[in-house]
Assembly symmetry: D2
Homo-oligomer: 358 residues x 4
């Protein structure tokens, strides 16, 4: 095995570079994956810009598709050479948080077993997926074999984008016959739209202003697409719903204005399901909050992980319920990942997601 590998490393704010790193050692519960395809996430751009702090020298990326290169001594149930994915979130399976079903807040090794965002390790607290090789911790909890019929690009959205987007609909408890609004149609918002459709919503209103995204929103299941650059989305949604508002409002951007709009279109007793990563305090306006008397539910979700989640998402793809390939708009070899960051961070050329292949 090669002693060195290439990896996209966070050097300092505004500098992620492709460099060489030693191959990781494989502990008893780990698996070493040879990455065959990965991608860049909006969160990685936050890291690039220094808005989300990670250790210097860390390999970035949390969306791995690959092949098992080597299994830890205590790992059973897999074989080397198997094609696998792992979720962006890699819970241990054994912390108090995991045992409560709250895997993303995994606090394995902490005093009480809960740690905010503790399940997010790749490219955050341990080396990530934008590299030739990736060490997957707690492999038996996290490695999900890829069905033979599916290509790398077909499953590339499963580790984060689909899991997060779908969770917007799931945590919102979308029911048959619901009216749902989804604010922002970036990759995650598009998957939230698809998730609402999959769960039985009968009127789905997607909000964005980028024509290509608006077009894909319809393919993902939106019944109405509101262009917020042309009309106030709150007014439009209230018009479309004849003044009723929506049962579930999904926020998929992470800004005060979309959070607030989501609340303003929510019917009494409805659920605001928030997926966005915010960068400042949020304000809940008194009026649409009905002074705290509206029987509202506000939920936030960090991308569900674990192999069973991955298996289910791949089933969605395999059963032709959803095709996420339209989200992959550009492709780069790992060697050109810096170029890919430049394109993606600046949202040029209509980019939605890039596929990176070592």
């Amino acid at each position: 095995m090669a002693r060195k590998m290439k990896a996209a490393i966070f050097v300092e704010p505004n500098r992620i570079v492709l460099d060489e790193k030693p191959m990781p050692d494989v502990g008893p519960l780990d698996a070493l994956i040879r990455i065959t395809t990965t991608t860049i996430c909006g969160t990685d751009v936050h890291i690039l810009k220094g808005e989300y702090p990670v250790a210097r020298g860390l390999t970035i990326g949390h969306e791995p598709v690959g092949v098992i290169e080597k299994l830890g001594s205590a790992v059973e149930g897999y074989q080397e050479g198997q094609r696998v994915i792992a979720g962006a979130i890699t819970p241990s399976g054994h912390s108090a948080a995991c045992l409560c079903g709250c895997h993303s807040q995994d606090g394995a090794g902490t005093r009480h077993g809960f740690k905010p965002m503790g399940g997010w390790r790749f490219g955050n607290t341990i080396d990530g997926a934008q590299a030739e090789y990736l060490l997957v911790p707690d492999a038996m909890t996290n490695l999900a074999p890829i069905p033979d019929a599916l290509s790398d690009e077909q499953v590339l959205m499963c580790p984060d984008i689909m899991s997060t987007g779908f969770s917007g609909a799931e945590r919102g408890r979308v029911k048959i016959g619901d009216t749902v609004a989804v604010f922002a149609q970036g990759p995650i918002g598009l998957c939230a739209t698809a998730g609402a459709r999959l769960m039985g919503a009968t009127r789905i209103i997607a909000v964005d202003a980028v024509p290509a995204r608006m077009e894909i929103a319809r393919r993902m299941g939106a019944d109405h697409v509101v262009d917020f650059s042309k009309a106030d989305p709150v007014d439009e949604i209230m018009r479309i719903t004849d003044g009723r508002g929506v049962d579930v409002a999904i926020e998929a951007l992470g800004r005060q204005e979309t959070f607030e709009a989501a609340l303003r279109v929510l019917r009494p007793g409805g659920t605001l399901s928030s997926l966005g990563v915010y960068s400042g305090d949020l304000t809940i306006p008194l009026g649409p909050f009905h002074a705290g008397l509206g029987d509202h539910t506000i939920v936030t979700t960090l991308c569900p992980g674990g192999k069973e989640r991955m298996r289910r998402l791949m089933e969605v793809i395999a059963s032709s319920r959803l095709d996420t390939r339209p989200l992959v708009t550009h492709r780069f070899p790992l060697d050109r990942i810096e170029e890919a960051y430049d394109l993606f961070a600046n949202q040029r050329d209509g980019v939605l997601k890039v596929a990176i292949a070592p």
Copy 2:
């Protein structure tokens, strides 16, 4: 039957006076109740001060205990002379909101069947309970017979205080073994404490600074009582929980500082159950909100109503699971209700709740 009755009427901000009013007509679905005991709520004080707008001339009050005087022509299943209560919230039972289980947001008569706080009618949109007689709409949905063994004062907290307080624990989905914090130990907070206890929380931390309330909090089931005038309650709760935080945090005051403290002590994946009536926009601080990635749930609740809710709450009293009589600290005849308002609005003499008997 007398043609006139006495009622506590909102005249203008800072003036609620006892005056005469005509007896109401009884429609086919209504019931006329002769009030035997009622009380004053913090919300009534907001109305008194002009902070919550109601029509001038409205009778105030939403916590009725009484006797059926007359039944509407279409009302079946009750008899005149029966002792009954009705909830502060009197849903129709037939709106879309009610059929979704969201009775408090009842929009009977509206286009879509949802109306913010629409279930709250007494002393808000129709004449209320601080009077000799009260007209109860949708009587078959709302009248709950009082078990013979229970006195008026034993059930006086059911229509609002117990129902609201308990809902803090219920909507927070308190489970056996949970740690729960309850911010503020006014009558509703005290019942939230009792509700958390009833649902199996094993560590209940109540926060207040009034010695008498702190004392009753223990009787209601608190394991720890934190005096916020002596120490920062967030620090204290984190100390008591050894840094873990709480599974459910109940806000029972309606202020930014308690809402925020509730979030700060909440473990990842926990639920903030808000009961307070806020008077301004709320801020969600970025840090304890984990930028939207903490798998948090925030729920608000308007006092559940309807006769089945009332029946269950009276069962709690009848089964000796809880005695709310310690909450009734003062008693007044209806003729002296203005005096009662003065005492209660100014929170004098250690008042928690007053019983008003016409």
Copy 3:
């Protein structure tokens, strides 16, 4: 208004005849509907055969589509001439059962407010829909306006077939990525298949032996169709699922063999959602029940009713998520309803559902 109307009346076992009846009186909470389309249900055939007892002289039928002819004096929010449907189940909205969300077991007028199947009144305890006119009780809880764009036949399955079938998936809590088996593809089973698809199941296995039904099952969303006349369905489902079994098994026939097969294919921790109407005691076999240690859930459901349910189901049709018109295979005028019963009861000519138009 005519003083007499035509109605399909249960005379005695094996005799349902079309005869004249007086027009009903309209009470304050009622609405009189002029039926424009209705249908015959399998339950009606049980009544015909004397297997389910109803009073002699009762008008049969519980699936009404019509026009409001006259509103009771206390009914608000509708107008005469409006096109409406009502559910097969017509809850009062105000009983304890309704206030608990258990509308189908409505016990309005009973001591405790619960009555087994109490919500089912049409063609069971009061006159039903196979007539020129139908009296709808508790009209404000039950009348759902039909969107203009939808024809009678488009909504004809909503009152019972869709509501029941969908509830099989809903009560089974079908989730994205679930594998679901549906035993029997009669009209209700077909809608259970459609419901599972709408809720995000990714592998749906439908079981039947009638080629036409098997064909429609695919159109309704089945991924696999098992012909139980050619292979043991338990074996086939275990083969299709590679030995895993299903997450949710829906029973839509009402026989021991399908109930048992549903249990046999259920994975540990799975849910058996039973829709069938059984005619004898059921046996739970020890082995597949894992002696009571399999963390199984078995749920039964009586067709959810009420106007909000009907509104949501019509939204499913209006949004083109599902077209139930293929289920209507035959059409008869009311005058020939006896002929329709003969065809339907004997399941001749590939009949699925008949549309009856007065």
Copy 4:
């Protein structure tokens, strides 16, 4: 360390003997526990009698209290010498079943990750706790430190009895104000009674015929105790509830007659929560099942395990919400375990549970 240890070994039907066995090897994820207290379960008696098959030579017992003797090389977060318990069910944490929250049906190592009762390993598929030492698999998922203030006997019911009994109430979703019947007041039924009380049931009806158990039932929270030897328990419960029936019926014996009685007293829409281990097919009688139209829910549960469950149960003890010591009626040293089996299997001398101390 000693090379041999004493263990209660299943030799053949009707023979469990105390004998010597080699000390187990400690794998990387295991922990070796020195047992300080354990007990005998009804299931062990089934094993003794040959009614439940296990391998000859297996050490019996699944209720361990002890001290960590040695930790596997990959186990972190514990230290040798720590007092701990582990649940009767020891899930891996990483199977598909575990990741779905269905830990007791853990299928670690199986093709699909689900295995009926797969989480039950101690004294079933691996050596159990009636020995001087016990090897705990997946130690990080299963070892729960005992608070210093609690004695061995105080926590002895946590691994199985409390966890199972409480789950009867939890899976039954007992709510504030519920009426609950618990059939049979053996150790598990008594804990089901206590669990219903902890969750807010206001009328709890316990059924048994042994005076000592009936007496303890009251201490555990029963409001009524029905002696089935003196009156038909169905009749009695319907009388006590004035004909209403119960919201939740808990079966804690595992016999047709109690299962059936539980169904007969259940109100429409209620939940039958079954804890019993059945030894033959069960019959669901058509009438009380309302032919499948009663909106019933029937749930079965296998004792929830895992360290977080254990932590919560010990919190119940530590917070004085419940004292299970009255369930321990007899004490034996491990050397006399055969005598303990004889007493317990024959239910002599009013035995409820025996404490066994090596």
